[in-house]
Symmetry: C2
Subunit: 397 residues, 2 copies
């Protein structure tokens, strides 16, 4: 028998408890073990909850219970999640978590403790919810080097942008609707300013490129300033704006990371990734592009990843994931030196666009002109646009 | 050191050799082992091939070489692949293969031999090329029951349909173009008649539902009869026809399987899966829909999956995949009894459509009428349409 403790009973925690309880038989078939959900650590009561008999208010009881094999941390935030996870690992218990902030900020330290103690620290649920992108990158691309990894990893902003694109709504209307539906919080900053996407991007980049990247070192732009004018122009040209986390290997071997709105064309699966769905694309040398798509959030979808990780911990004979390397900011390339094609809307004539950008593709003209450039760095673009009133500017993928 | 023999040097075989040779260092880092590609079994010479010194024309040399740890069978077809794979497994060697026909027809028997000999038989490359869908289903959805699995698993037909949909080409023109580009063979039957899709579908259904399904028991319809009239009507309604492999769990617990053209809406990633790309969707109870997308064929993409399987074989301490169960036709439900929404184009008035199908959605009207029905079985649909001249009829997803 394996004993599990869940820390937290919010959206993900309650989903994890319910999935564990409902799939006990299936998990036994997979692991050969009876699964006993022994505690759900809560900080306040949840009236009417069907498994209230498992509630434990005193963390020390869980901490000191030697029978616990796997701890599922699904509280979110760094404190006290960090202390609890660290403590569990130190005591030789495997930990699974869906806590992106914790892994993005403290992953390097925690994974080293896990490695030292020969236990597992798994966190599939921390990036893109139910989508098995971490597993896919770690286990299915061993014959590949990853050229870049990028994706829609925040459902709230993708929902808002989908409404702006497909229903022609303004940002203000779309966020109101998202709040009504519970997709966006009253203070939506963490989502709309790209903070959440950035954390998940860092985890993906850590795995792919092998060194810890702190979220605060990543250039991060949210979606607040996206105008309907641009989503309309792009829609008419079979393109869309999506908030992406983006990491790539530059020619000098360094890693480029950024989180910002990108223009994607209708030849990309990301274009068709709408509403609260997530999709992560991995461009490789041998397999070309692989995309993992699915529900990036929600109670049962995230619990699906958390419980799968619990099963992996039980089945694993060795530590599954070796820790990635320490933070090495000398291995980061400035995204400003990295070439992209750019979308620009500016007060400029078509003739002037063609003079400045030989291969420009004009998307709309008039008093303002919207166009796509050929590949160039942000710095080159800025130089060319000096003195011109730029209304909007996005990288394209 | 681990010694590898590749059987075959065609599109997939040569890709596998090249990926193995070029990624030796990376594989060593993953496995701790030096990888030695010892033989490439060929039946004729490949002039100018850079690894001709590894060519071996006599299978018995490979068969009797006790040093070989993993055999990669990438010849295709059932004979002599079946005899070679069986022999290798019997001698306690792990086998990886991209041979869908072999696994679809003989998978049950071969996997049992692998299990008995405590070696591995892996075949990620047999379904959807580079796309890690078998790995994803087997390893990442342990907290889920699969309601249905369906996907675009043949790049040739998807390329042809993409041309018909996006460029308005006829079937005849599109297949000619596909042949020019080398996507379709001179005799394209195996692809356009759905035979290849059906084999891959069977493998997916075997994994998901646990019993071997022989391809010849699956209702299989190809794309030869798809008319431009229908692709046009559907395009105008933001829908597309895609050849899908489809397997689902019926309410009575039995499995429904079919391979045929389906109508998909633009809210599905499959709608955006164009040209030679593949995508497999898995509908689950907890994770909702997960989609795996990527290159379904080609030398390096398929080799990516084959080499990843080789790495898994080397790393595995136990048999990774237990065999699925024997063929049990009593566990198959007739797809004719299973409900779908249907697309119909027939010589019928709008008034008559509305009389027969209360909830019908009219897509085009005139001398003929095209419409979508609500959910009903094929049998109910046929009854309702008795005496009416039906021009086209497709299930929708």
């Amino acid at each position: 028998m394996k004993n599990i403790a869940i820390l937290g009973n919010g959206v993900v925690g309650s989903g994890t408890a319910r999935v564990l309880l409902s799939k006990a038989e299936k998990i036994k078939a997979e692991t050969g073990e009876d699964i006993n959900l022994k505690y759900v650590f809560v900080r306040h009561d949840y009236e009417g909850c069907e498994y209230r008999d498992l509630f434990e208010y005193d963390y020390d009881t869980i901490k000191n219970d030697k029978e616990i094999d796997v701890v599922a941390e699904v509280m979110g935030g760094v404190h006290p999640a960090y202390e609890y996870v660290k403590d569990a690992l130190m005591r030789g218990k495997s930990v699974v978590t869906s806590n992106k902030q914790l892994i993005a900020e403290c992953g390097y330290e925690l994974m080293n403790i896990a490695k030292e103690k020969n236990v597992n620290l798994l966190f599939e649920g921390a990036v893109a919810g139910a989508v098995p992108v971490i597993h896919g990158i770690r286990n299915c691309l061993k014959a590949n080097d990853v050229k870049r990894v990028y994706g829609i990893i925040n459902g709230t902003t993708n929902y808002i942008l989908s409404k702006m694109i497909s229903d022609g709504q303004s940002y203000a209307d779309a966020i109101k609707k998202a709040q009504e539906l519970g997709y966006a919080e009253a203070d939506p900053s963490r989502d709309v300013d790209g903070i959440d996407s950035c954390r998940k991007l860092c985890i993906l980049a850590d795995i792919v490129y092998g060194n810890h990247i702190m979220p605060q070192t990543v250039n991060t732009i949210g979606i607040r300033d996206i105008e309907k004018t641009d989503t309309d122009i792009l829609s008419q040209n079979k393109k869309a704006i999506k908030l992406l986390g983006y990491a790539a290997k530059a020619e000098n071997g360094k890693t480029v990371v950024c989180t910002e709105p990108f223009v994607v064309g209708d030849d990309s699966v990301l274009f068709a990734t709408n509403d609260a769905f997530n999709a992560v694309a991995v461009d490789t040398d041998n397999a070309d592009t692989i995309v993992f798509y699915g529900r990036g959030a929600g109670s049962f979808p995230t619990a699906s990843a958390v419980v799968n990780d619990i099963v992996e911990c039980i089945n694993a004979e060795n530590t599954i994931y070796p820790a990635w390397g320490a933070e090495r900011n000398d291995l980061l390339e400035s995204y400003e030196n990295f070439v992209f094609k750019h979308y620009v809307r500016a007060v400029i004539s078509v003739a002037k666009v063609k003079e400045l950008f030989a291969d420009a593709v004009i998307l709309s003209e008039g008093k303002e002109c919207a166009f796509l450039t050929s590949e160039m760095s942000e710095n080159s673009l800025s130089e060319k646009l000096e003195g011109i009133s730029v209304k909007a500017k996005y990288k394209t993928i």
